[in-house]
């Protein structure tokens, strides 16, 4: 059995998600028919849960040039440390820094906004590049906004301790979004997105366990994933303005992919301005998924299947998130360069309950270890300024 030196949970899937989220950040922030405001945001973020701590910062700046052009740039960094359950049971604790830079351009012509951008991400053993483009059009008296988007990504996967190992993975996304004003108080949206991945999609460090004659009753071998994956997601969301100046929002998303994962996400939120300068938020999110076709907590013997995974991300689980946010707004008395600023704090508590991922830190007969649960705290503190 090899001895991986890295936390398998902190590898590829996180980065793929990071870049997808960044594409959303810089790629679709523009509304059709009007360019986004000039603003700067500086975020400090902290995730702590399951023995892992991830801290970092994100700086986002957006500036209009003339009446038709807007530039946006983002610099994101985080640092991972600690020992997750994967590290405790399979690997060695470690520290790692990750960086990402992105640049985007929005061009407004009439009622149409064209957006393009590029994202570059790097880690010691991973490199990712993503290019994206989208077009948004306001229609029907500006009550409807239709957006088409596409992105293409190229990943290079390496492995620490194996300098000759290099693998590629390609990503392609297509999306269509519709935002519709239904009444003077109700805004709704519908989104559909297809994601395609091809190449080396597994984690070079993560392993599956199988029953063996080892004194523990099991041994490890490397995961084996299919080389292609296609997923489709459809979501609907709505936001309603309440007569005492508050907003209620809800959303639902259905996801299905060729690895056999079916997932449901439901969210509910409430936003309430108060005391002249404050805005408070409360939100709840429920998520559940079934497991991938080739996932198992314990395989019967070595090489028992062509494809094998024991990744928590591909396991069946339920997740509940509860969060609160507070934002304090400040406006200068004299109207000058700075229009307004906000100081923001957001806290979220996440709870994961896995249906078939066992906690191997507990000594028990093989296959009857307790099911793993995870609690995490997510803190965001950020400053925003509008110019």
């Amino acid at each position: 059995m090899g001895t991986p030196k890295r936390d398998p949970k902190a590898q590829r899937p996180q980065l793929g998600a990071l870049y997808a989220a960044a594409a959303a950040l810089v790629g679709t922030a523009a509304k059709a028919g009007v360019l986004p405001d000039d603003r700067v945001d500086l975020l400090y973020h902290s995730y702590s849960g399951g023995g892992v701590t991830i801290n970092g910062t994100s700086l986002l700046a957006r500036k209009k040039i003339g009446d038709h052009l807007s530039l946006v740039g983002n610099w994101y960094t985080d640092s991972v440390s600690g020992a997750s359950i994967d590290v405790v049971t399979q690997a060695s604790p470690y520290k790692e820094k990750r960086n990402q830079e992105s640049l985007g351009v929005d061009l407004l012509l009439g009622k149409t906004t064209y957006s393009v951008g590029y994202i570059n991400g790097s880690e010691p053993d991973f490199r990712s590049r993503t290019a994206y483009a989208s077009v948004s059009e306001d229609m029907f008296g500006d009550l409807t906004t239709l957006t088409f988007g596409a992105s293409r990504g190229w990943d290079k996967v390496g492995e620490r301790g194996a300098p000759t190992f290099k693998a590629d993975a390609d990503r392609r996304n297509w999306s269509v979004g519709l935002t519709q004003v239904l009444t003077r108080n109700l805004l709704t949206g519908l989104n559909f997105e297809t994601t395609e991945s091809e190449g080396y999609l597994q984690n070079p460090y993560r392993q599956v366990r199988y029953s063996s004659n080892d004194p523990r009753g099991y041994s490890y071998e490397k995961e084996a994933y299919p080389h292609t994956r296609t997923g489709n997601a459809l979501s609907g969301h709505a936001k309603y303005y309440l007569r005492w100046r508050a907003a209620l929002d809800g959303s639902y998303r259905y996801y299905r992919d060729t690895w056999g994962i079916v997932a449901h996400t439901a969210e509910l939120g409430y936003t309430l301005p108060a005391f002249h300068h404050w805005i408070f938020d409360a939100h709840a999110r429920y998520y559940r998924q079934n497991q991938a076709d080739f996932y198992a907590d314990l395989f019967p013997y070595a090489g028992s299947q062509n494809f094998m995974a024991r990744d928590r991300e591909l396991a069946a689980f339920k997740e509940l998130g509860l969060g609160f946010g507070a934002s304090w707004e400040w406006r200068p008395r004299r109207h000058g360069f700075l229009q307004k600023g906000t100081v923001n704090l957001r806290y979220d508590n996440l709870r994961f309950k896995y249906d078939d991922f066992r906690d191997l830190r507990v000594q028990a007969p093989v296959g009857s270890e307790p099911l793993y649960t995870l609690k995490a705290n997510v803190l965001q503190f950020y400053l925003s300024a509008w110019f």
Partner: protein, 77 residues
């Protein structure tokens, strides 16, 4: 009688098509969009926070995409 039935069937279809050619009147007038233009009605008020939180979820879940960041805007400004 068959001719009358045909006319009765086709007329509404033709009417619908002709109505489709006329411009659609916005049923929420620009001066009625004050509530929609309120910052609390933005689907994503702070993109830097929204993108980070999307990352937190996607890195731990199998599902991804269609999170509502595409599109946006109500033409209220």
């Amino acid at each position: 009688m068959p001719r009358l039935r045909t006319v009765l069937l086709i007329a509404p279809l033709l009417g619908g098509l002709l109505a489709g050619c006329s411009p659609i009147e916005p049923w929420v007038k620009p001066y009625e969009r004050e509530h929609l233009a309120d910052p609390i009605m933005a689907f994503e008020r702070d993109p830097v926070s929204g993108a980070y939180f999307e990352h937190v979820h996607e890195s731990r879940e199998g599902a991804r995409g269609a999170t509502g960041t595409v599109g946006g805007g109500c033409g209220c400004n």
